[in-house]
Symmetry: C2
Subunit: 446 residues, 2 copies
């Protein structure tokens, strides 16, 4: 369009909806690399990629949920359809497995990295659109307990690979808590779990008060509950101690057997006790979990809360099928994790704003030759960019600096004629003469 038309056009102020995350290249590069790492780790354990629609039928997506979740859901009509945006990746998984039950091979191990939507009140670190990274293993009728250990191994490998500092995976088994509450003749175990789960937030005294007031237990029983949660020490200490409890309760015994098996297999999978522990206080809020539960803390930033949580459930898809589909899985709330890490300064930026590893800068008469060189380097596996616009050499080097491109090479007539050119390390300023890809491989650090 002509300049005139452009000036007449109404300019709309560019902005995005509040509560949505959008990053500049430097930050986006880090988040993209984190996503790549998570994907690669999930795949190294043989989890299958799954992708489901962001939009689902409201009646299907909201088959179970009520209360808070339903209020937060983005829901609207288009044509005859009552449409809802997914608010997690678990409900679509349940729907998918029930719908395609006959076409899937079990155990069905899937990972899903995708955006989910919750129209909650915008607040610091809470987003209305955010990435979740989930893995789940779904059995057909039954699912061996070793799977619960493998999940810990996946969490371990993922956070090792993400390289965001020391972390601790905390595991528990709800059957232990339920069995013990049962043994104490506490009737409302679901509500008791909910109160107990708040202990790190509200403290021991308040948990005790709530137990007495809301569960209607005696002070003695409340103390017994708190005493039970206090079990600590090494994994073998805790398990040995739990074994001394003389409790004739099948659920408790099952929980203890499961926890012991999980811990043994976690070690076999090469996860050291430096990275995991048994924590009887972990209960998880959701009524959904039935056995093993997980939370993960960053040791240097415990204030971030659990950055990766999940657990074992008996029935994945009871809203969609009568098939018994037990499973175990975890979720990483990646957008929130990234935001929080960024806020506390835990992200190491290397100033890289682009995947480009080498910037080739041609002089005006060496463009063709430089493009050929760039293709040669690209074919050898490098990420290569050719600066293709007019300007002074200094401006072009500034471009490399601004984008944090680690290497640059100026190709003039001499370089073209001799086939020898210099690669400059943009960080150190050092220059290296290269005349072949082999030379370059010695200089360029991947």
């Amino acid at each position: 369009m002509s300049e005139k038309q452009s000036n007449q056009r109404k300019i709309v102020e560019p902005s995005i909806l509040s509560g949505f995350m959008e990053l500049l290249p430097k930050e986006q590069m880090v988040l993209t690399r984190m996503t790549d790492t998570i994907k690669k780790t999930f795949e190294s354990y043989g989890f299958i990629p799954l992708d489901t629609p962001v939009l689902e039928k409201s009646e299907v997506l909201l088959a179970k949920s009520g209360g808070e979740t339903a209020k937060q859901v983005y829901r609207f009509n288009k044509g005859d359809s009552d449409i809802a945006m997914r608010f997690d990746l678990t409900v679509p998984l349940a729907r998918y497995v029930a719908q395609h039950y006959g076409e899937l091979t079990f155990p069905f191990r899937r990972y899903h990295i995708g955006k989910v939507y919750r129209g909650e009140k915008p607040q610091k670190g809470r987003f209305r659109e955010f990435y979740q990274c989930d893995i789940d293993i779904i059995g057909n009728g039954s699912l061996g307990i070793v799977n619960d250990a493998e999940i810990v191994s996946v969490i371990f490998s993922t956070f090792k690979a993400l390289n965001i500092g020391a972390f601790k995976i905390m595991i528990n088994n709800r059957k232990l808590l339920n069995g013990y509450f049962d043994y104490l003749n506490i009737e409302n175990t679901v509500e008791t779990l909910r109160i107990v789960d708040k202990i790190d937030k509200i403290g021991r005294e308040n948990v005790k008060k709530e137990l007495i007031k809301e569960i209607n237990v005696s002070e003695e029983i409340a103390d017994a509950v708190l005493g039970f949660l206090d079990n600590s020490g090494s994994v073998s200490d805790i398990i040995a101690n739990l074994k001394t409890y003389e409790i004739e309760n099948e659920t408790f015994r099952q929980g203890l057997t499961e926890l012991e098996a999980v811990c043994e297999n976690i070690k076999a999978l090469g996860v050291d006790e430096e990275y995991f522990t048994v924590n009887l206080k972990i209960a998880r809020g959701l009524d959904y979990y039935t056995g093993t539960v997980y939370e993960t803390l960053l040791c240097d930033y415990p204030q971030l809360g659990s950055i990766c949580s999940g657990g074992r459930y008996d029935e994945l898809a009871s809203n969609y099928t009568k098939q018994s589909l037990p499973g175990v899985g975890i979720s990483i709330g990646l957008s929130r994790l990234f935001y929080q890490l960024n806020e506390v300064g835990a992200i190491q930026y290397d100033n890289r704003c682009t995947p480009t590893e080498i910037l080739f800068i041609p002089m005006s008469d060496t463009v063709t030759y430089t493009l050929e060189k760039a293709t040669e380097f690209r074919n050898a596996g490098y990420s290569v960019e050719v600066y293709m616009n007019d300007g002074k050499v200094s401006k072009k080097l500034t471009y490399a600096n601004k984008l944090g491109i680690p290497y640059a090479a100026i190709i003039g007539e001499d370089e073209m004629n001799s086939g020898v050119f210099k690669i400059k390390d943009m960080m150190s300023g050092e220059q290296f003469e290269v005349s072949s890809l082999e030379d370059a491989a010695k200089i360029i650090k991947k």
Copy 2:
């Protein structure tokens, strides 16, 4: 929950909205690998990852569009917000660049692989949610013509890497058409372009009729237009022939200069004429393009139409800023491409339904040892799964077969004690004894 509760619960029939794509593992594996390949190729040219919200303010997203697009947009209210789902990745790019203009380094080269939404009438091969894979290079005020050549190099590398058969990239320059129409004294060039663009769909005769009827040109002029479009042969033939046109028209001359420069640089970038051609009939429907335009055909499946299109535009973001932001870019409609390739049988399935390369099958007493082995192999870069559920060995091998896992290894007591086990090639049935990662590396084909 208990069996009883589960039976009492109302079962909702699991299904998805019509017009949405959802794949089973075998197909999803292929689509995920295609996406990985496209991403890797885009990054090898130094394009920066960009991610923008799927939901935008309606007033911002729909600043320009009217007519068909606006009708198709998913738009709804939540709280005080008038929200629209993005229908392409170009409008969000324009909004992003205008909004973050001061924080970006130009030329700004970004790629974006993401889902977009159009509530169009469901029909075969058309989806309401689909992936687009876009690259664009945005200049600040100006952008060198070499960039137009690089885009062709990216298309070339992408489709080479996707390995979906022979393809041809067709390029043209709108200035040639506009200049020539101008020279013929055709006034309504936009409408003429629109008619000419349909030539492969409706044929020469119908284009001629429409030109005469709707543009109101003489039969002679219509013939001149068609004759011009007929220019064919090698790239140098076409350019040489165009040079013989004695046309005193600045736009035409500019178009020819640009086309020649683009073609020269395409060759320097290592793209052979086997893969690209000049096709003067390529006009592209959108009024948005101002110079170079691209389309890409699969030689064995020309009926699929262009699978990758784009072009040069003078003003990316005139709805959002007065800054002049010229750019050049292309888009691959990946969901549609995958669907079409699948329909014509152009996708080679290797039966792989999982990233797993080796399935380790422990006997009951070797679980711990097998988990250790699995970790060893995983740390060496293999994608490894341990079959962790009860059952007969034959059932476990069936699992490997069903998922198309290429290798399996049964670890019994003998294997554990000797440290020597057999890796079975599930395709050929051959077995190989291995006692180290080095042995395994000789057998397992990546």
